[in-house]
């Protein structure tokens, strides 16, 4: 995936929908693409993961299932992150949030950006921060509704 493709993968996330193109490009510059085989794991300890294709099952990091569980057992505990979802974003704005483990349910492609890099971009650009905040509030209101 080149820079533009990575940016498009990021832009496909609802939570990044309001970010300015230039901000998405700056995030994409710092992003790396990883292809995951079914069963491969990723943690949100230091990265934000955007699901570009496939799906990842999510579990709490402290659960023993995160270490030993299969995708199906993890799915019973948590949720499934699919294309357009992003894992680890809460830790960007709330660093004390516990990280989670996610396991690829099938062959998947994820775009990873270091938590620090996302935070850098948001701190650098108050407009981006506001856009993210508004997206989060929309998600919250959507849930409330």
């Amino acid at each position: 995936m080149d820079l533009l493709e990575r940016a498009r993968a990021l832009a496909a996330c609802a939570v990044f929908a309001d970010l300015a193109p230039a901000v998405l490009i700056r995030l994409a510059e710092r992003a790396r693409v990883t292809e995951l085989a079914a069963g491969e794991r990723r943690s949100t300890a230091d990265s934000v993961w955007v699901i570009a294709s496939g799906a990842l099952a999510v579990a709490s990091h402290s659960d023993s299932v995160a270490q030993a569980g299969t995708a199906s057992s993890i799915r019973r505990r948590g949720g499934t992150a699919e294309v357009g979802n992003v894992l680890g974003l809460v830790r960007v704005v709330a660093p004390t949030t516990k990280p989670v483990e996610a396991i690829a349910e099938r062959a998947s492609v994820v775009v990873g950006v270091a938590v620090d890099d996302v935070r850098d971009v948001l701190e650098e650009d108050p407009g981006a921060l506001s856009a993210l905040c508004e997206a989060l509030s929309r998600i919250l209101l959507g849930e409330t509704a």
């Binding site: 230091d46 949720g79 993210l132």
Partner: protein
């Protein structure tokens, strides 16, 4: 730092080294006297293998019993061996056994006890104090080396082991006392701080692998030098005179080492990075051997061996000690023993065996051996650098700081073509992303020439547009190709853009092409008209300028720069356009590029109001525009300047303006400009050195001012002192950002320093010590930065003096607070600091919010669930109860909001109805912050939005695992 344990530990290792040096001299002299020069390799093998075996035994014992028991057992065994050794030798015991017992075992005791010294200190205190504890070890060596020789002359060498046994008895007593001191005062170097992030396994493993190689190479090098030196020594001396020569050599070596440990090593360790420190030993040994190879005299050889012995302990072992600080405490102690007691001797022993197999001829070819030693030293130096770099990675890893990265903004022709096509994509999001990508990357201008006659008209349009936006020099270099392309252009949009691109280059050939066409579309007609105005002065300049503000602000900027109308007329046209919603964004953009004096007012006002169009106008500045605005920005109010500074974060062309804002007298503007400079540097653009240097000096002076004020502010109110602490914390970030920008200007990745700044000011206390160590590794040689940050991490030291005077030049607002001029605002400020949302907001912004917010008495129902609302409430007195009605599948919930709690945060961000019914206690009082007040504060302090995002994220997280 546990000072008592450190002092007792230093005394303990001093005594042990005194014994070790004395017993070693005695044992080696006995060995050489018994077996002769030809057995020298065997001495080294016996010494090394004895050391390794004793260490392995010790390691195995400590895995089964407590270290204290193992240590005391080891000391006791050595004491007995020393006391019995003269009689055993007389009885015919083999000297090789004496070497193992009296030369190897004391070294293991030394290692074991050194762990107890290291347990008493951690972090930068370890860098400062461990060399001094090492100096105590050296003092023991000096006393033994210089004191044993006269004793041998007077009463013979046999006396030495008895003295050693007596001193070891004293060591046992000191050991027990130090253990009690560690139990009472803590062992910071042997336990991870509570709450500290554990180091990830992978960087630690790679670090240990490198350290194993370094330890073995260290042993190989030492053996080669030892063999050559001892061979020469044996040729010159024999009998008691040999023992005297050996002990004098050890004593002299330790004297030099002592000087270094007292005078130089602590300073090197607290000011230089580990790669620098680790390089000292191999590089100087190499130099020593080069000198010896040129002039192979005994003095030069002795000098080289002294260099090796001294620097191995002074710099290599201290580097090893610090590198091990990245390893968790338990494995750290074990690996320290194994590296020094097994792997180092393993390297030494292997080298000794090889030298023995090569035979005595090796010693007789000093230059060849010197060449081999230089080769080993080179490999050793490289391995040391690898280990040191891995240490830096392992040190930073628990803080989430990963390796350096480089952003490569160059693209090839194929990508250029693909993105250019995407820039014309019907999907607006894709098109805008492609344009943003194209604006960010670098393309070789000559690459564009081949595409100006591309088959796809959309591609040609995009390329002409790119040329119109590119630098004049680049566009000028392609003028010929552009003229040829426009001459045959048949697409209206591409032609309009081509006419513009040519007109901007001062070429009117596009006008002729357009006029020759039978039918001219509105777009081409517009371009034709503006081109004629720009190149021939024909047309209504006011009307065209006004129209271009809506259609093509970039061309409006170019026209304005040509001064086709008088400045006052231009200001009038733009001010008028700025009032028209359709032309406002373009007008502000033109103003940002060309306006000055009162003409800038519409832009300044819009910036102060946080108008997105004004922010875009700044973000889209070109280099000439940024230079122009830099000369006039001082006329704007600070909040407008700060917003302008932040707007430039994604605009490398704005560097001239950032450079000016970095020097802004207002601390919040300078703070914002520095963050922006960091963003620009992170994107790979270079900032000029002068403003970076000034920003660094200003931040350093400001932080020193804050710390001076902290020491003197004993009479300040609690609120004022809290604001001082917060301001100092922000200044630490400012200082490290300046250092990061400076690092970027030097070609290094600034991301690690930025992340470290975050951990230092916002991280857990447990991680700060590690963060400071990371700063040291990243900021080697900047002692003043390290010193002031270390001072900030320490508690204030109450001092007499004027705190307000200390801070006034750097932070006038805080000086006002300290002087009591904002006393009426302090109660509200203190209350607003309670919620996490507002806890770290910049003081002036919070004070502004406090002034605008309303204090209200509330009672009964404050608002109902579902009501419209635009105000958030901070509880100032009493309590509120928020109740959410039961919805399908859930029960009603009630929470109580006490003093300092917040309710209604969403209302200041969205127009959503209230999510709960809130009822107040009878005597409750709140601070009401409406949407406009919050927005105004957020413009000054974007971290408010970050706080709000954190609140929202906390609410969302439990139900949205796909967002966690």
């Amino acid at each position: 730092m546990n000072r008592r344990a450190l002092a007792l530990g230093a005394a303990m290792v001093l005594l042990v080294n005194l014994v070790a040096v004395a017993l070693r001299a005695y044992a080696e002299a006995a060995f050489i006297a018994a077996y002769g020069k030809g057995a020298l390799p065997w001495l080294l093998i016996a010494s090394a293998s004895g050391f390794a075996i004793a260490t392995i035994v010790y390691d195995q014992i400590t895995r089964r019993v407590q270290a204290t028991g193992a240590d005391l057992g080891l000391i006791g065994a050595l004491l007995i061996a020393a006391a019995l050794s003269p009689k055993l030798l007389d009885a015919g015991a083999p000297p090789v056994a004496i070497v193992i017992a009296l030369a190897a075992a004391p070294q293991v005791v030394g290692l074991a006890l050194w762990n107890r010294v290291a347990a008493s200190v951690a972090g930068r205190d370890a860098r400062r104090m461990l060399p001094r504890a090492g100096a105590a070890v050296t003092v023991g060596g000096v006393i033994a080396g210089l004191g044993v020789a006269p004793l041998i002359v007077r009463i013979g060498a046999t006396f030495i082991p008895y003295v050693g046994a007596g001193v070891l008895a004293i060591v046992v007593v000191v050991y027990l006392a130090q253990g009690r001191a560690l139990a009472a005062g803590g062992a910071p170097g042997a336990t991870a701080p509570v709450g500290a992030s554990p180091p990830p396994a992978s960087p630690v493993r790679t670090l240990l692998r490198a350290m194993i190689v370094v330890a073995m190479l260290e042993g190989v090098l030492a053996t080669v030098i030892d063999l050559q030196f001892l061979g020469n020594l044996k040729a010159r001396y024999s009998g008691d005179s040999l023992a005297i020569a050996l002990s004098l050599f050890y004593g002299g070596t330790n004297a030099v080492l002592l000087l270094l440990q007292i005078a130089a090593v602590p300073r090197i360790l607290v000011t230089r990075s580990i790669p620098f420190t680790a390089a000292i030993h191999p590089v100087l040994v190499m130099l020593g051997y080069v000198v010896f190879a040129i002039a192979p005299t005994f003095v030069n050889l002795a000098g080289t061996r002294t260099t090796d012995q001294v620097l191995r302990l002074a710099t290599t072992r201290t580097s090893q000690e610090l590198e091990l600080s990245a390893v968790p405490p338990l494995p750290r102690a074990r690996w320290k023993v194994l590296l020094r007691g097994v792997l180092y001797p393993l390297g030494a022993g292997s080298a000794a065996i090889l030298l023995y197999l090569l035979g005595p001829a090796v010693v007789e070819k000093p230059t060849a051996l010197a060449g081999a030693a230089i080769g080993v030293a080179i490999v050793y130096w490289i391995a040391g650098q690898v280990a040191a770099r891995r240490f830096q990675v392992a040190l930073a890893a628990p803080l989430g700081i990963t390796g350096t990265r480089r952003i490569d903004n160059r693209i090839d022709l194929e990508t250029l073509e693909r993105w250019t096509e995407a820039a014309g994509d019907p999907d607006l999001r894709t098109a805008s992303l492609a344009r943003a990508a194209l604006a960010r990357v670098r393309v070789d201008a000559t690459d564009l020439a081949d595409h100006l006659t591309h088959d796809n008209p959309a591609m040609r349009s995009a390329l002409f547009d790119q040329l119109a936006r590119t630098s004049p020099a680049t566009a000028q270099s392609l003028k010929g190709e552009l003229v040829a392309a426009i001459a045959i252009e048949d697409d209206d949009r591409a032609l309009a853009l081509g006419i513009k691109a040519l007109a901007l280059l001062g070429d009117d050939s596009g006008i002729a092409v357009a006029k020759n066409r039978a039918v001219v579309t509105a777009e081409v007609a517009d371009a034709l008209r503006v081109a004629e105005l720009a190149l021939r002065g024909v047309g209504d300049a006011r009307a065209e300028l006004g129209g271009l503000c809506a259609r093509d602000p970039q061309w409006a900027i170019e026209l304005a720069r040509k001064a086709i109308v008088a400045p006052d007329v231009l200001a009038g046209v733009l001010a008028e356009a700025a009032k028209d919603p359709d032309r406002r964004a373009g007008a502000l953009r033109v103003l940002a590029h060309v306006a000055e004096g009162p003409g800038l007012a519409p832009l300044a006002d819009a910036l102060a109001d946080g108008d997105p169009a004004a922010i875009d106008a700044i973000a889209l500045l070109d280099a000439a525009g940024a230079t122009h605005l830099a000369a006039h920005i001082a006329t704007m109010v600070p909040v407008a300047r700060a917003i302008a500074a932040r707007a430039l974060s994604g605009a490398p062309a704005g560097i001239p303006l950032v450079a000016v804002l970095l020097r802004d007298a207002d601390p919040e503007v300078a703070y914002a400009a520095l963050r922006t400079a960091l963003a620009i540097a992170g994107g790979g653009s270079a900032l000029p050195a002068e403003p970076i240097g000034l920003a660094l000096e200003a931040a350093l002076a400001a932080l020193t001012g804050y710390l001076d004020a902290r020491d003197r502010a004993t009479a300040w109110t609690a609120c004022a002192r809290h604001e001082l602490d917060l301001a100092a914390r922000r200044c630490v970030a400012r200082l490290l950002w300046a250092a990061a920008v400076e690092a970027a200007a030097g070609g290094r990745d600034p991301a690690a320093l930025t992340a470290t700044a975050r951990h230092l000011i916002g991280g857990r206390d447990a991680d700060r010590r590690r963060a400071l160590d990371v700063v040291q590794e990243l900021q080697a040689g900047r002692a003043e930065i390290l010193g002031v940050i270390e001072r900030w991490l320490r508690p204030a030291v109450p001092t007499e003096g004027d705190a307000v005077a200390a801070i006034a030049p750097h932070d006038p607002w805080l000086a006002q607070v300290g002087a009591g001029e904002l006393a009426d605002l302090e109660p509200t400020l203190a209350l607003l600091r309670k919620p996490a949302l507002l806890a770290t907001v910049a003081g002036p912004a919070l004070a502004d919010l406090a002034r605008r917010a309303r204090r209200e008495l509330v009672k009964d129902v404050v608002f109902h669930e579902g009501d419209a609302g635009d105000t958030m409430l901070v509880v100032a007195r009493g309590a509120l109860r928020a109740t959410r009605a039961a919805v399908a599948g859930a029960v009603a919930t009630t929470r109580t909001i006490e003093v300092g709690g917040v309710v209604g945060e969403l209302a200041v961000l969205t127009h959503a109805p209230r999510a709960a019914t809130v009822v107040a206690d009878p005597d409750a009082e709140v601070i009401a912050i409406d949407r406009a007040t919050f927005a105004s504060a957020a413009r000054r302090a974007p971290e408010l939005v970050l706080g709000l995002s954190a609140t929202l994220a906390g609410w969302i997280a439990p139900n949205r695992p796909d967002l966690i």
